[in-house]
């Protein structure tokens, strides 16, 4: 059917990968509906879509994890059955997953060898790791233990592992969600270099600016179908977002910056040792949030955000009562229930098993944190009818898609559960709301609704703290923000005066820059 190596000779080059009419059904869901797109050799192709648009399903079929119900995948023009990831790798398809599968206690080299089908001689492999990592600007010491590495460095391990197999197509799933802006820039240089050498890159992301910067073409998925194909350079971020969502994107309406109110949440010198072995200790964190203010805490994942959130919500106690004050009342030694009584509500990052109990119904999950503030108890007894009303109120107000309030929390999709948890805390009319990753895994429409709800809450005089790794989100909704890095919180800055570069450098701190700052980013060195 096709002659090998016809790329250069044919008028229109044979695509490296061509997806034709691919359909995949799951019980009750049509995940992919006759999806067509093609990736040319050396092309950086974006796959853009909301959560649940079918990106992951599509990519899993390309990588052989799932198999299409209908339609075909053509590799260099030849129709293929890709049985499993092993077969995909044999063809030359490499994939860097969003969540790394690394063994923390092992070295970089051992981790790379474990993920390969035929690692071969270790000394030789070590040489190759060094060569590849240098050639593509991914500095990596094969003998370092993984737990000592930053997230950015860990991602490099995954990328190098793919590159060692000489891939022809590299799939990157949300690669920048854990990186600082500087690390993102470095990653893009590597990807551009790979593309220049003829490697096709399938780049999955929801960050529109990045796609504009990096990608040659973009395929936009919505509800399992291809709704548009475009050249990102010709589009604006807003126009792509509209194609992705299908409706006009709402911008968050903020009241004009008024007079800042009283300080509602004051944290002075919060120091907490992490409960985890390789966790990050909080060191002398201080900040104050006033009534009507949205305060952002930026930072790369794993820099003490979890510890900070536990310390604020009351799940971990401070050393002294005076370390944390809610509306002037000292609460450093009060637990989460007592702080909630004082008016501090919190939304943790992890939903299942932390913000909600997956095996319990939505009604029970409404009781979980709302029992006091919503008056759901009469002495020891739970007021079942009142609890059901509260749960229904959350479901209605925050458009939680569920068959009913007696459905278990675990049966909801991540985004819907997030809406439920955020709604549950907001409807309790808190005085202080601490939210971690408010829109993690939530589709753009719901994210806008949550942002609006936070803005409305602030307008009512609530002090809102938003901890997020999504800098765009923080820049869009916060009044002031600070950056957390290795457990130290920077001084706060006004969001409208902050520059992305400045925040990026604060986020980078020691991480990622230490080993290679001198080589690639001389400017990072003299700012730090």
């Amino acid at each position: 059917m096709t002659a090998p190596g016809s790329d250069s000779s044919a008028a229109r080059p044979v695509p490296r990968l061509e997806v034709k009419g691919v359909t995949k059904r799951f019980p009750g869901v049509l995940a992919n509906d006759h999806v067509d797109f093609a990736v040319a050799p050396g092309e950086v192709h974006a796959l853009l879509g909301e959560n649940g648009a079918g990106k992951s399903t599509l990519v899993k079929m390309i990588y052989g994890v799932l198999h299409p119900d209908e339609g075909t995948l053509a590799w260099n023009g030849a129709v293929m059955q890709i049985a499993d990831p092993h077969a995909a790798r044999a063809l030359g398809i490499g994939m860097v997953f969003q969540h790394f599968s690394l063994f923390e206690a092992m070295t970089v080299l051992e981790n790379i060898a474990l993920g390969m089908d035929k690692p071969g001689d270790m000394a030789l492999l070590s040489e190759r790791v060094r060569d590849v990592s240098e050639a593509y600007g991914l500095p990596l010491d094969p003998d370092r233990d993984v737990y000592t590495l930053s997230v950015g460095e860990r991602q490099r391990i995954e990328i190098v592992r793919c590159l060692l197999q000489n891939p022809k197509l590299l799939i990157m799933d949300e690669p920048t969600s854990v990186l600082t802006p500087q690390e993102v820039e470095r990653l893009f240089e590597t990807l551009r270099k790979l593309a220049a050498e003829g490697v096709s890159i399938l780049y999955i992301s929801h960050k529109l600016e990045e796609i504009k910067q990096l990608c040659d073409r973009a395929t936009i998925l919505r509800g399992g179908r291809v709704v548009a194909e475009c050249d990102p350079a010709q589009e604006t971020a807003k126009s792509m977002a509209q194609m992705m969502i299908g409706t006009e994107l709402k911008t968050v309406e903020r009241r004009a910056e008024g007079v800042a109110g009283e300080a509602r949440l004051v944290v002075e010198g919060l120091t907490l040792a992490s409960e985890e072995i390789h966790g990050v200790d909080l060191k002398n964190v201080s900040f104050a949030v006033r009534a009507g203010e949205i305060f952002g805490i930026a930072g790369v994942a794993g820099n003490g955000q979890n510890e900070l959130l536990l310390g604020l919500s009351g799940e971990r106690l401070a050393d002294h009562e005076s370390v944390l004050r809610i509306d002037g009342a000292p609460a450093g030694r009060s637990n989460a229930g007592a702080r909630r009584k004082l008016g501090l509500c919190a939304v943790p990052e992890e939903r299942n098993g932390h913000g909600a109990v997956p095996g319990m119904t939505l009604v029970e999950n409404a009781v979980l944190s709302g029992h006091h503030r919503m008056g759901l108890l009469s002495s020891l007894f739970i007021r079942a009818a009142a609890a059901a009303r509260f749960a229904q109120q959350i479901v209605t107000a925050f458009d939680v898609r569920t068959p009913g309030v007696t459905a278990s929390a675990g049966s909801l999709s991540g985004g819907n559960l997030q809406k439920f948890i955020v709604g549950r805390e907001i409807l309790q009319k808190p005085k202080v709301l601490v939210v971690s990753q408010p829109t993690w895994g939530v589709d753009a429409g719901a994210a806008a609704a949550i942002h609006q709800a936070l803005a409305d809450l602030a307008a009512e005089g609530v002090a809102v703290v938003v901890v997020s790794q999504d800098l765009d989100e923080l820049l869009a909704i916060t009044d002031r923000l600070a950056v957390i890095n290795v457990g130290v919180l920077s001084s706060a800055m006004l969001t409208r005066e902050a520059s992305v570069e400045e925040i990026g450098l604060l986020m980078g701190g020691v991480h990622g820059v230490s080993t290679d700052a001198a080589v690639v980013h001389p400017e990072a060195a003299h700012v730090a």
Binding site: A78, A87, L91, H354, V357, A384
Partner: protein, 385 residues
Amino acid sequence: MSHNPGAAGNRLVVYSVFNPASWKIEPRREIPQGLLYATPLLAVVLTVVAGFFIFLSMGYNPFLALYHFFVSPLLTLYGLSELLVKAGPLIMIGVGLAVGFRANVWNIGAEGQLTLGAITGGVIALAFWNEETWWTLPLMCLCAVGGGAAYAAIPAFLRTRFNVNEILTSLMLTYVATLFLSTLVYGPLKDPMGFNFPQSRMFGDAALLPILLEGTRLHLGGVVALMIAVAVWVLMTFTIVGFQVRVLGQAPAAARYAGFSGRRIVWFCLLLSGGLAGLAGTFEVAGPIGQLVPVISPGYGFTAIIVAFLGRLHPLGIILSGLVMALSYIGGENAQVQVGLPQAVTGVFQGLLLFFLLASDFLVRYRVRRNPAALRHAPQAQPAE
């Protein structure tokens, strides 16, 4: 286009059916709710079937043995009353343990707490021996609950203060308790008129539980056990206390997030289960036994663990499972008398029941599938024509 790996691949698969590596166990995405409640019944049926073959291989008439084990005890009023006598302590203890198990608090030492409760209650009975007062029995019950709870407080303290595993401490304390009881009945509490037998005086009438049915041993304890089961059901289903217990068991991080104190729940669970076990202990000595003897329980504290799981950790389910397990005691004794089966048959049946329950539970939550990796032998990425 060829979709399947072809004949050669199929042959390889057939051979690999016998290779353990070609199977894998994976959690089910959705657990069939009906099956969850059917498994206790399934376990009982499988136990009976297994018992049939055990009796057969031992050379007994399996039909006769099973009849005397499971059916004939239920045909007389006396048999039925005995069933309730045995089921009472099992239900009472099982209900308390189930609350703890729901919160991932594993009190394995109910037998010891039962013994302590029997001692504290029994000491009151002996201290006021020969005094006909209405308050003897209530005071005994109070002290029994206190004794059992105090004994369970030791593992509770060790767990909450030093993070010591309560499974080990509560189990070890059981043996301490039975030895302590022996020390007492061989020593200070020995009946002065008892010809040096290791047993206390018979309790006075004021210290004995009223008999509900003339001519049987059926005493008030059975009714109290039922009331406790219902009360615990209300506690677990409708109150914030039960809610806290369930949240802690299912998602400890969520419990902390909600502001529920894990320590307090651990204390609550151990004190409750210990107190109920203690009460069951005193009901034994103030009911069927009537005095303190070196051994006061045929392992009720341990059997109640099976009762709790067989009843799905649900107080009302535990009433049913308590009756089933009580039957295994009575049936075992009956089969010893009628068919000459060995005494160990009761323990074997209880073990079988737990085994089948856990096994069928496992298969409800997980399923066994052929490992896709076993298909690796088949050619992988084939170009179709």
